[in-house]
Amino acid sequence: MSVVVVLIGFSVLVAAGFLLAFLWAVRSGQYDDDVSPSVRILFDNENESDKSNESIANQKQV
């Protein structure tokens, strides 16, 4: 049963990591704007159609 201690330890470690990530995200302003990110991802399509002529078609690479 002592493995539970280890599992809880692992889990708390992961959770603590996530908590730090969350605090970083909030502090660095990741969530200051919770509307425009969802709209922004829709727009790179326009870019793509403009640029598609420039794209390198069938480029061979290793």
Partner: protein, 714 residues
């Protein structure tokens, strides 16, 4: 601000997409084979590498890690570049990731069929492959973090958070569950035993579902659903909240796989409580996905991509509601060990993972190849076939699960089991297996249509290997470092780099040290429980090798219906020498834990076991168990006995000192005795054959405690 020009690497997306299709077809075909093997035992072909116990892990591993795994990476490489407005940080890491992952898959298929397995579900791969997975995974994650640092968009879109959580958690789970000590180049024993092994395994097993089949796919959903609908996600706020809630809650739910089994009650309750809580963040994802289509439902009528997504997200919602319900003890008492579980996981696999992958593939290919999908009509046919297939698959499995559970538990007025014969129950649900196989075949046929449609689309289009894009560089802010700066920071400061390296090594050290401390607690609480004899140990390894745990449990729950059928319920202290535990999760056949108890209702003599392994249908005409004729042909690998004993000693199993040197004498003596016994029954078999060891192990099962010693177990 200056615009920077860069390219999205579509080539890697294409490679992973092709791999997804290839392994998807392979995985589904193998799935169809195992479904048919249950109906027609002859399809096991009496060969070791085509028999259910070895093939079924190939199916599960192929679908989870090859089909869904490559699906994750397809969508991941497509989306992360576009969301961060940058190419991948390292080209060679990207390629290494691809070829590394594919070689893991090939090695997995070969070794599993050859019988190299750890015997732990969804973590069956042996230690060299485990190491390879760890390396490839770290390269994938390193490349991801580096790409994130190089991004040109300040805001990290929610999908990428899901990818980060996936990377971090899968790494921890994989390492945690794979700590094992090798006794040969390809084989090992896990450091955990019995109850501990079960807890670690299902902590891993459940979170593999959470962080391999769920979080990365939610990330994909958050990109492809809005894109396909051309609508922003319903609530970005909700996506953030449910993401953090989901990852904080998921990791505690594992013990719900062990309800009513030999683990402490409080751990079971913990698992149940967190599972119920999980409904909220899970449904947050489903609601967010479906409501993204508000005002756009007309598009669902026309676009097969959206059709697939709608069913995928609905299936996600259904199975994340069903999951918590199955975690309730009273429901789990019915569902566990039955086909209900199989139905449940296939709603997730066929519906959520499968359909999201199909929709994504239909969406990505025309864009990468600058063309239209070859046939929308065919895609629609695929959609309807697939949807019907899911119903044809899951409804019979639910029905079968209920039927099994009811028949297992049915008592008559005299207090006796109404269906004491397990075979009768197997025969009862056989029509359900037929229908399930039909559903699976339908689903497979749909996948073939997908492949054909994509093949035609690819032929019609011209591939854009490197897609040009432009974006301004990310403005530097006070203190915030960008990718290259961070690297230069590491490179210029060797001392800091060294400290970081030491920290990494220390973590590795803790991971190494902790298990040895755990071994000490493997001391039996029941004094009559003794280590396996060398012959039984060899037999146990054959049991694991042939994948017996895929159909037989070794865990009698404390229900009257089970103690009547199988014998005294299982005690935690009985499993202290089981590296790995073999409790199983499904009873296609009966439980075996009290199989060796001479006074038990299931006891059979050695000769019965011999004949049964050779030809189960000869013993019971309606049996669906495969034949194992090679067990009487192949010799026991006695050369491995000393190494096995030594590793067991390291793991704290109290064999006397120097026992490894004499273990084979003990083994031979016991084998001779069994062979002589068989001979007196008219069965002529050499004492050095594998079947002797397996019989020895089976006859040992559950015999360490008599019913009198039950009282000792406090």
């Amino acid at each position: 601000m200056e615009l920077q020009k860069f390219y999205y690497d579509n080539k890697i997306v294409k490679m992973f997409a092709y791999a997804t299709l290839l392994w998807g077809i392979v995985g589904m075909l193998v799935g169809l084979l195992v479904a048919l093997q249950i109906i027609f035992p002859a399809l096991n072909f009496s060969l070791p590498f085509t028999t259910f116990g070895r093939v079924r892990p190939v199916h599960t591993n192929a679908i989870i890690f090859a089909f869904v795994g490559n699906g994750i990476f397809t969508g991941y490489y497509y989306t992360i570049q576009r969301l961060l407005k940058t190419g991948m940080a390292s080209n060679w890491m990207t390629r290494f990731h691809f070829w590394g992952w594919q070689s893991i898959i090939v090695l997995a298929a070969v070794t599993l069929l050859a019988g190299y397995t750890t015997g732990k579900e969804y973590a069956e791969l042996e230690w060299p492959i485990d190491l390879l997975i760890a390396i490839v995974w770290v390269v994938f994650g390193w490349n991801m973090m580096w790409t994130i640092l190089k991004r040109r968009v300040k805001h990290i879109y929610v999908a990428i958070w899901f990818y980060i959580a996936t990377f971090v958690t899968v790494a921890v789970l994989h390492i945690g569950n794979s700590i094992e000590i090798p006794w040969s180049l390809l084989k090992s024993y896990p450091v955990y035993a019995g109850v501990q092994d079960a807890l670690v395994q299902w902590w891993y097993g459940h979170n593999a579902v959470a962080f391999f089949l769920t979080t990365p796919y939610l990330g994909l959903m958050y990109y492809f659903m809005p894109k396909a609908a051309n609508r922003p996600v319903y609530s970005y706020k909700l996506s953030i909240i449910h993401f953090w809630a989901l990852i904080f809650l998921y990791i505690w739910a594992g013990p719900h796989h062990l309800l009513y089994q030999s683990v402490p009650n409080w751990a079971q309750s913990l698992g149940t409580a967190f599972s119920i809580m999980l409904i909220a963040p899970s449904w947050g994802g489903m609601i967010n996905g479906l409501l993204t289509l508000r005002g756009a439902w007309d598009k669902v009528r026309e676009d097969p991509v959206l059709k697939f997504f709608v069913v995928a997200v609905t299936a996600y919602g259904m199975s994340t509601f069903e999951g918590p319900m199955l975690s309730l003890k009273n429901i789990n008492a019915i569902s566990h060990f039955t086909n209900w579980t199989i139905g449940h996981v296939h709603i997730g696999a066929l519906g959520w993972n499968g359909f999201l992958t199909f929709g994504m593939i239909y969406w990505i290919f025309p864009r990468m190849f600058n063309t239209k999908l070859w046939s929308t009509k065919l895609a629609n046919v695929h959609f309807w076939m697939g949807t019907l297939a899911i119903l044809f698959y899951s409804i019979p499995m639910y029905w079968a699960g209920w039927t099994e559970a009811s028949m297992w538990k049915q008592f008559n007025e005299a207090g006796e089991l109404v269906y004491p014969n397990f075979l009768q129950i197997i025969s009862q649900i056989m029509p359900m297996h037929y229908m399930r196989a039909f559903g699976g075949a339908l689903y497979f046929a749909g996948a073939i249509m997908l492949v054909y449609n994509i093949f035609k689309t690819v032929k019609a289009g011209s591939f854009v290997a490197m897609e040009a894009a432009e974006a301004p560089a990310l403005e530097k802010e006070g203190g915030m470092k960008q990718g290259e700066a961070f690297h230069r920071f590491l490179e210029r400061k060797p001392i800091r780099f060294m400290i970081l390296a030491i920290v990494a090594i220390l973590i590795g050290g803790v991971v190494e040290v902790v298990p040895t401390y755990l071994i000490k607690s493997n001391i039996p609480t029941i004094t009559s429980v003794k280590p396996y004899t060398p012959l039984e140990l060899q037999g146990r390894d054959i049991y694991i090798k042939e994948g017996c745990y895929n159909c037989h449990s070794q865990m009698i729950r404390p229900f009257r219906s089970e103690t009547e059928r199988y014998g005294d319920y299982s005690k935690a202290g009985e499993y202290v020498y089981d590296h790995p535990f073999q409790w199983g999760s499904k009873r296609t056949g009966p439980d075996l834990w009290r199989e060796g108890v001479k006074t038990g209702r299931n006891y059979k003599p050695d000769s019965w076991h011999f004949n049964h392994f050779m030809d189960p249908q000869k013993m019971n005409a309606t049996s669906i168990m495969p034949k194992y004729p090679w067990l009487a042909k192949f010799d026991i690998d006695i050369a491995s006995t000393p190494a096995k004993i030594r590793v067991m000693q390291t793991l704290g199993v109290p064999y006397p000192e120097g026992f490894d040197k004499v273990a084979n004498d003990d083994l031979k003596a016991q084998a001779e005795k069994i062979a002589a016994g068989l001979k007196s029954q008219g069965i002529d078999v050499d004492a050095n054959k594998q079947i002797i060891a397996l019989i020895a192990y089976i006859q040992r099962l559950g015999t360490d405690i008599g019913s009198a010693s039950t009282a000792q177990n406090k």
